[in-house]
């Protein structure tokens, strides 16, 4: 039996507003328990929700970025269920009339092709609090700081057919929300969470199979593993002739398996109805266009522009545009030094390498664009060689100062004086007669040896181009 995998993803993105979606409490991460839970967040008797306009703006930005329909009239509904991290015993969400309608994402697959994944809808809702089980015997502690943080729930069409496609989609959404500045997409802190709906059906069958929902997976790697392990599990069940149970499952990263989370009898009737404490959200076409005009250039457009106007390769352009901070950094440098390829090499190479080694985001890079520009200009004006520049860069990264300061302090200026270089060359030639003879008799490759010797003698400071040129002249028989 040939099976086809069908995957849909529900991604919950925490919107990076300063205050909560329905109250004026702070959304800052990491505060002491319940110090950012005001009367409204606690669901005290008599409190009422008041809607944060920034959450609307960020949601609309996302919708526009994925080419989706923005609903000019949307409504908040109550999703009723009892759980201690849900203080009102209902979550304010949007079921019937969400803010964002149908859209799409184009993802790059490993074989280089592109696939269009549909987005069914995206809606605003409030986050729940946190349950802490560890510190208490037989009890659970509830922290409501997170309760009321704005979420955008992005629901994909069941268009993905493999774990890899799912991860590609997830990465693209991640990139877009960070690009737009609507979320920091921090998976460790829980501001970007993914649920995957996985099912199998016989190839060719139109009807979907029974699906399992994998909940709260917080890394790209785990999403791929969880989906794959679930596909295997379901395939085993179906091949043995049994049926898959529709249920929610949790991924256990240590055991690399999924396990059932909620039993059937907890299946909830959420009794959705429009929240009578809130009024319909109405946004005009003009307001939507005003928001559209604030959208930054998005990854795909930026990538195309880099390829067209800066003549960068697709590989480089893609790599530079995945992360908006990296792209911003790149553009600042490229515009100042003019050499697109040089800037790309440095940023994708040296800068990214040190950032990754120290686990630092581009935004926090200790060498800012101005400083890097200063360094690259010294290569361009021949003050130092590219190789020396790498040494200087490491020192800059370690906080030893700007390029000129370090070049001065360490005496790294390139030697470009012809006479000085000739003097070194003369000495090398004098000290290596056999290699000279071999070279002159036709062993052209030995030029590398001589260049190496000159560079060594000059502690790397001799201008390589000039060294080469002068050696060629001087070594002529």
């Amino acid at each position: 039996m040939q099976w086809e995998v069908v995957i849909g993803l529900e991604i919950h993105v925490q919107l990076s507003t300063k205050s909560k979606i329905f109250s004026g409490a702070s959304t800052a991460y990491g505060a002491e328990p319940n110090t950012q839970a005001c009367t409204v967040d606690l669901g005290l008797p008599g409190v009422l929700p008041v809607f944060n306009g920034e959450a609307l703006k960020k949601s609309v930005m996302f919708g526009l970025a994925i080419g989706a329909q923005i609903n000019e009239r949307s409504v908040f509904d109550r999703k009723n269920y009892f759980y201690p991290d849900s203080p009102k015993a209902y979550q304010i969400s949007q079921l019937y009339y969400p803010i964002v309608g149908e859209g799409f994402i184009d993802v790059d697959l490993e074989d280089g092709s592109q696939k269009r994944i549909g987005v069914t809808r995206a809606h605003m809702e409030e986050d729940a609090g946190k349950s802490l089980h560890e510190s208490f015997q037989n009890q659970t502690g509830i922290d409501l700081n997170r309760a009321g943080t704005p979420l955008l729930e992005i629901v994909s069409e069941p268009d993905m057919r493999s774990a890899k496609e799912a991860v590609a989609y997830m990465r693209k959404i991640h990139s877009i929300v960070r690009y737009l500045g609507v979320s920091d997409g921090n998976m460790q802190e829980g501001s970007f969470r993914c649920d995957a709906n996985v099912s199998l059906r016989p190839k060719g069958q139109e009807e979907f199979g029974t699906r399992a929902e994998l909940k709260n997976i917080n890394s790209f790697r785990f999403v791929e593993k969880a989906i794959n392990v679930e596909i295997e599990r379901q395939m085993d069940i179906l091949e043995s002739g049994a049926t898959v149970v529709q249920e929610t499952r949790l991924y256990d990263a240590d055991k690399n398996e999924t396990r059932s989370m909620r039993s059937k009898e907890e299946a909830n009737d959420y009794r959705y109805f429009p929240d009578p404490d809130l009024l319909p959200i109405v946004i005009s076409a003009e307001e939507i266009e005003a928001i559209r005009s604030t959208l930054p250039e998005l990854p795909d457009a930026k990538c195309a522009r880099y390829m067209d106007t800066l003549a960068l390769s697709e590989k480089d352009a893609k790599a530079l545009t995945v992360d908006r901070d990296m792209a911003d950094y790149y553009e600042a440098v490229q515009q100042a030094i003019g050499d697109a390829k040089m800037a790309a090499n440095w940023i994708l190479g040296d800068v990214a390498a040190l950032n990754n080694k120290h686990a630092i985001e581009f935004k926090e890079c200790p060498v800012n664009p101005e400083q890097l520009i200063g360094l690259l200009k010294r290569i361009q004006d021949n003050t130092i060689s590219g190789k020396i520049a790498k040494e200087v860069f490491e020192a800059m990264y370690a906080g030893e100062g700007d390029a000129d300061t370090i070049i001065d302090k360490k005496g790294l200026k390139q030697i470009t004086d012809t006479g000085a270089i000739e003097a070194i060359i003369d000495e090398i030639i004098a000290n290596n007669p056999s290699q000279v003879a071999e070279f002159q008799s036709g062993k052209d490759k030995l030029i590398g040896f001589f260049v190496g010797q000159v560079m060594k003698a000059s502690k790397g400071k001799a201008n390589p181009g000039q060294v080469n040129q002068l050696l060629q002249t001087k070594l002529k028989p």
Binding site: L44, P45, G46, V47, P49, K88
Partner: protein
């Protein structure tokens, strides 16, 4: 002193005839000696009241103060009051000392008013007789074996018995107007969104409104001046300018067009009550008003529409009261569900449970369209009826209740008949219109209220219409013998 209105008391304070402390103490004494008969207070706050009175006197001495400065009031126990028990008439909130003030309370505090205590009410505002309170029923001061009406029965009894010059109430389906009618006082339910609901424990969010319960229309205007206004903490509160509600009180009613819905004068309305209403309307004709019969054909849809919408909204609103962060918690819960089920099972009374169950059912899968959505549609039909009527008339009048106050225990086993006692008031909440009940006479020795219904934000006009009636009649000055 206890027979004076807010306006009169304020003048007395201003003239130095007495201090707020003296005034407050005199009401506290009255409450202490008389409330045992009525059970109209759940919590009396003597220390707080006297402290507030002292401050009010100091403010008055220091300079210009508003009319409500130093005036003692009673607050319905549905308003969250910081540092003071807020029970909403329920065992479920028996231990709840609110950590914050409702906006209405903040506004009264800002005006310098004094809080004598929190009044008794039907549990979570669900009831029409003040018999569902955990704290025992309230008695009607006119006849102690009768109900005061509900859910603001405590506030109505307080004002009728002169235990305070005025009180606040809330009205979802008639809970200010019906008890005002049963107790012979003046009650106003403002337009939906006129007064903030922040801190007012929610029953049915799209229907609830807070309002004044007083002896006179003038006093109601003075209270509304403080209560009304946009509140940024309440999304449903309306950004409509607040006029001085006393400004139009003395406007002439000549040419006023009064509509009497024929549906209100059919079987179900007590004959003696009907006679009182007819006489009251004749008073208006004497003042130059023109009376015409109108029709509100959807009147019979009001009660069924309400009894889907209100329980649905309240079933969700009350879910937050689960014993986790505040309120009553059962002993030794063995797991989470047990905590919820037993706390709520032991904490809520039967009427509240009934409505939670009905609302949960109406919203549940498979029934939502048939019940809730259907009710929202009939709600629009009811609202349309009023819009059409107001094209022809300026105000709609009729009885506030189909009878005078019934006896304690008479309807407790008959919920549906109990629901029908709100038959004239419910449609007004569904349409969000302002409504008043003013004392219009007596039937069988018990008070009868005349209901006035106006267009959205026409409180000034309603108060004017009420005030003029109170210049020509003296029903509103009557006091039950036991409390003179």
């Amino acid at each position: 002193m206890h027979n004076k209105t807010i306006a009169e008391l304020s003048a007395g304070l201003k003239a130095g005839e007495f201090t707020s402390v003296e005034l407050t103490q005199s009401y506290l004494n009255r409450i202490h000696s008389l409330d045992e008969q009525l059970n109209s207070f759940i919590t009396v706050t003597p220390e707080l009241a006297l402290e507030q009175a002292k401050q009010a006197d100091a403010q008055r001495a220091a300079g210009h103060v508003g009319i409500l400065n130093g005036i003692p009031l009673a607050q319905k126990d549905i308003f969250c009051t910081k540092g003071v028990k807020t029970s909403c008439g329920s065992k479920m909130l028996e231990p709840f000392i609110s950590p914050y003030d409702a906006t209405t309370i903040t506004k009264f505090n800002g005006s310098g008013a004094v809080m004598l205590g929190k009044t008794n009410m039907d549990e979570f505002a669900m009831g029409s007789s003040n018999e569902t309170s955990w704290y025992g029923p309230v008695k009607n001061p006119w006849q102690l074996d009768s109900v005061p009406g509900g859910s603001s029965g405590g506030s109505a009894a307080v004002v009728a018995a002169r235990l305070a010059p005025a009180a606040t109430g809330t009205d979802t389906g008639g809970s200010i107007r019906q008890p005002a009618s049963f107790c012979g006082i003046t009650g106003l339910k403002p337009t939906y969104g006129r007064v903030s609901r922040y801190g007012m424990i929610a029953f049915a969010s799209s229907l609830d409104q807070a309002g004044p319960m007083t002896r006179t229309a003038e006093d109601a205007a003075l209270m509304l001046n403080v209560m009304a206004g946009l509140d940024s903490r309440d999304s449903t509160s309306v950004d409509e300018a607040v006029p001085d509600y006393t400004a139009d009180l003395n406007n002439s009613l000549s040419g006023l067009k009064i509509g009497l819905p024929k549906e209100y004068f059919s079987e179900g309305l007590d004959d003696a009550v009907a006679k009182v209403i007819e006489s009251a309307v004749k008073e208006y004709e004497k003042m130059g008003a023109i009376v015409k019969e109108i029709s509100l054909p959807t009147s019979n849809l009001a009660v069924p529409t309400y009894y889907i919408i209100a329980p649905s909204e309240c079933s969700s609103n009350l879910s937050r009261i689960d014993g986790v962060r505040y309120g009553y918690r059962c002993e030794d819960p063995k797991d989470l569900n047990d905590l919820y089920i037993r706390s709520r099972g032991e904490g809520f009374g039967a009427e509240v449970k009934r409505r939670i169950l009905v609302g949960t059912y109406a919203l549940s899968e498979g029934f939502y369209d048939a019940y809730y959505v259907k009710a929202q549609k009939t709600r629009r039909l009811i609202s349309n009826d009023f819009n059409q009527a107001f094209a022809d008339v300026d105000v709609i009048m009729g009885p506030a209740a189909p009878s005078t106050a019934f006896k304690l225990g008479e309807l407790t086993d008959d919920p549906i008949t109990m629901y029908l006692s709100d038959i004239y008031t419910i449609a007004v909440n569904l349409a969000g219109l302002p409504g008043m009940s003013i004392p219009a006479g007596f039937a069988n020795g018990m008070p009868v209220g005349l209901q006035l219904i106006g267009q959205h934000f026409a409180e000034s006009k309603l108060l004017n219409i009420a005030h003029q009636f109170q210049q020509e009649t003296d029903w509103h000055t009557q006091t039950p013998d036991a409390f003179k």
